[in-house]
């Protein structure tokens, strides 16, 4: 029994909820809401960093809401993975709020962009921290409903069309989660994850447990855009403004991946040959078909959207291999991917401002006119493709090494091939947007030189520079993140510490 209640766990949630309330109170006043949001973004980052330091130094933090003992009450848990994800989500949210200050029109801000964004981050943060599967469903819904609103905010025709697909499939995925939770509760009589982990291991009917695993695999698979379920992502993500896409592309699918990692390391380890072989096959197919989609596209945002799908495959590959090194690779990859992917979307928005288009055929000459933007793009793009010494290389290297060690040669071959194809489709953007000659410009667009661009849109560039610096940080000093990933993977593969921390409070 500890003397002090680990309230650090509640601070990130508390900051977001309070900021949301203040934003709602100042409805229709865009400037006040922007100010609240940027302060909240900073405080969220600070509290998330505080939580991360606490977990990194003192081990798993647990809080039982209302002091009800563990399997019955509402439990919030932060182990290394959860704390790391909260921190990285805070980094991205801060960058996005900074970016949105100048990216969004005052009209969109007045319609409630900031309050909804804060609720969505509240849902994301809660999904990372919860220790109970029904609460996970509720946090997911908080996040999803907020993301529905964000994706249609502004009501353009494309946004509405994309939203139909996104909303319907998300609703079905939540239905699967709920049904899966119901089956698990019927089988074990508990909803607490730590308690479930114990109960599942002792359950006599292991086949039925696998049935519930299929429900969760489908539900989280739709959220994470795994192979047969990914069609909603490229249809809906390119439609809303960049501030929204950047956040969704960076975070939302990764919440699905986080939940898959949590469930398939803590709960469903009873039948590894079945569950994790299915995951491995899905990982390979996700990578491959995602990148094929990216090759076929000729639009900046759509290529990036298909890349999300193929990168999800790498994260699931690490989970499916299920060795300490492979899971460490997954965690490293998730953190690298969130930073890089968000930044690429932010840069596509900056390029749009200069040219007014996302179609590759109408873009060009950015390298001549804006060398600084080109450098920002190059760091992220080559990192995503896995060029050494950038961060994507370390992620892919760890995963490939883990694959070779567990003699899964096919998936390693697929992952290397997909890396090559990713580089190919990135070079398509590189050649036609940055290197090619400036196209015939539309006369109605203002021609900005580099200095005016910076002066007028400094928030956009600052946000992108912030994320680029983070990427460079983990590229050139990967030791800390690798050792963190290994420790987090160690915690995931030996769930005893997690179970003890929750149940023996």
């Amino acid at each position: 029994m500890t003397d002090t209640i680990p309230t650090l766990l509640l601070f990130p949630l508390w900051v977001l909820l309070t900021a949301f309330i203040f934003c709602v109170l100042s409805w229709q006043r865009a400037k006040v809401q922007s100010a609240i949001a940027i302060v909240a973004g900073f405080l969220y980052l600070a509290t998330a960093a505080g939580l991360f330091m606490e977990v990194y130094q003192n081990g798993i933090q647990v809080i039982q809401i209302g002091n009800w003992p563990a399997p019955f009450g509402i439990t919030l848990v932060a182990d290394l993975l959860a704390a790391g994800m909260v921190l990285i989500s805070a980094v991205v949210a801060f960058a996005i709020i900074l970016y949105s200050l100048q990216d969004l029109s005052a009209e969109r801000k007045k319609k409630g962009f900031y309050p909804v964004l804060l609720v969505m981050m509240f849902g994301v943060c809660g999904s990372f921290l919860t220790g109970d599967i029904f609460n996970l469903y509720v946090w997911f819904e908080v996040m999803l409903v907020a993301s529905f609103v964000l994706i249609v905010l502004g009501n353009s025709k494309k946004q509405l069309e994309g939203a139909v697909k996104y909303v319907t499939l998300s609703f079905i995925s939540s239905g699967f989660l709920l049904t899966g939770s119901a089956i698990l509760y019927k089988l074990t009589g508990t909803l607490n994850m730590a308690d479930l982990s114990v109960a599942i291991a002792q359950h006599p009917n292991q086949e039925l447990i696998t049935v519930s695993a299929v429900f969760f695999l489908t539900g989280f698979g739709i959220k994470a855009a795994l192979f047969p379920f990914f069609s909603w992502l490229p249809a809906s993500y390119p439609t809303p403004p960049i501030s929204v896409v950047g956040l969704m592309a960076g975070l939302l699918t990764k919440v699905g991946v986080y939940a898959l990692i949590r469930f398939f390391t803590l709960l469903y380890t009873h039948d590894l040959p079945v569950t994790h072989s299915v995951l491995l096959v899905l990982a390979g197919l996700t990578m491959f078909f995602g990148v094929l989609g990216a090759i076929a596209q000729r639009n900046f945002k759509k290529i990036l959207s298909f890349h999300i799908v193929s990168q999800i495959g790498y994260m699931i590959m690490g989970l499916a291999l299920f060795t300490p090194l492979a899971i460490a690779g997954s965690i490293f990859y998730i953190i690298h991917h969130i930073l890089v992917k968000t930044n690429l979307f932010l840069i596509s928005g900056i390029v749009k401002i200069t040219n007014g288009h996302y179609a590759l055929s109408k873009l060009g000459g950015v390298y001549d006119r804006y060398p600084f933007v080109t450098v920002l793009f190059a760091v992220s793009a080559f990192s995503l493709a896995g060029i050494p010494p950038l961060s994507g290389f370390w992620g892919k290297f760890i995963l490939a090494k883990a694959g070779l060690e567990s003699e899964a040669y096919v998936i390693v071959a697929v992952s290397l091939l997909v890396g090559l194809l990713t580089l190919f489709s990135m070079s398509k953007i590189w050649v036609s947007v940055f290197w090619s000659a400036t196209p015939e410009s539309d006369s109605n667009l203002p021609q900005l030189d580099g200095r005016t661009l910076f002066r007028r849109y400094y928030c956009l560039l600052l946000a992108s520079v912030f994320l680029t610096l983070c990427t460079l940080g983990i590229s050139f000093y990967p030791d800390f993140l690798i050792s963190f990933s290994e420790q987090a993977a160690g915690q995931l593969l030996n769930p005893d510490s997690y179970i003890n921390a929750v149940l023996n409070q």
């Binding site: 529905f148 319907t168 509760y185 019927k186």
Partner: protein, 116 residues
């Protein structure tokens, strides 16, 4: 009783998926609503369906398996509230799409999927 309930749940799930595969917006809405019902009904039955037993244990020991488990019922309430919220959102969204795009056929919502 249990057989009837499982049949109802099965019919609800299959009907909702069938409706969602149709082209019409209206059938999609009905499908989404039925899907919500099917999941919440499934969750509700997990607690056990019993008749004529008091909701609280008293000293006159009633065997526990004759009582319905109250927790899934509480969860069902939460799930109903959430799914109604999402269903309302879907209805308003589809109305807005109809106004904006001017079609009632889901197959025509393909501008975001075209390569161009």
């Amino acid at each position: 009783m249990n057989l009837i309930i499982s049949l109802i749940i099965g019919v609800l799930f299959s009907a909702s998926l069938f409706l969602m595969f149709q082209k019409s917006f209206f059938k999609l809405i009905i499908g989404v609503i039925l899907f919500g019902y099917a999941t919440t009904f499934f969750l509700f039955t997990v607690g056990g369906v019993t008749k004529n037993a008091p909701p609280l244990l008293n000293e006159a020991a009633i065997a526990v398996d004759q009582l319905a488990d109250p927790l899934p019922q509480a969860l069902t309430l939460t799930a109903i509230v959430i799914s109604i919220g999402v269903q309302l959102f879907v209805i308003v969204l589809l109305k807005k799409v109809y106004e904006e795009v001017g079609t009632e056929d889901l197959d025509e919502l393909n501008t975001t999927d075209r390569i161009k």
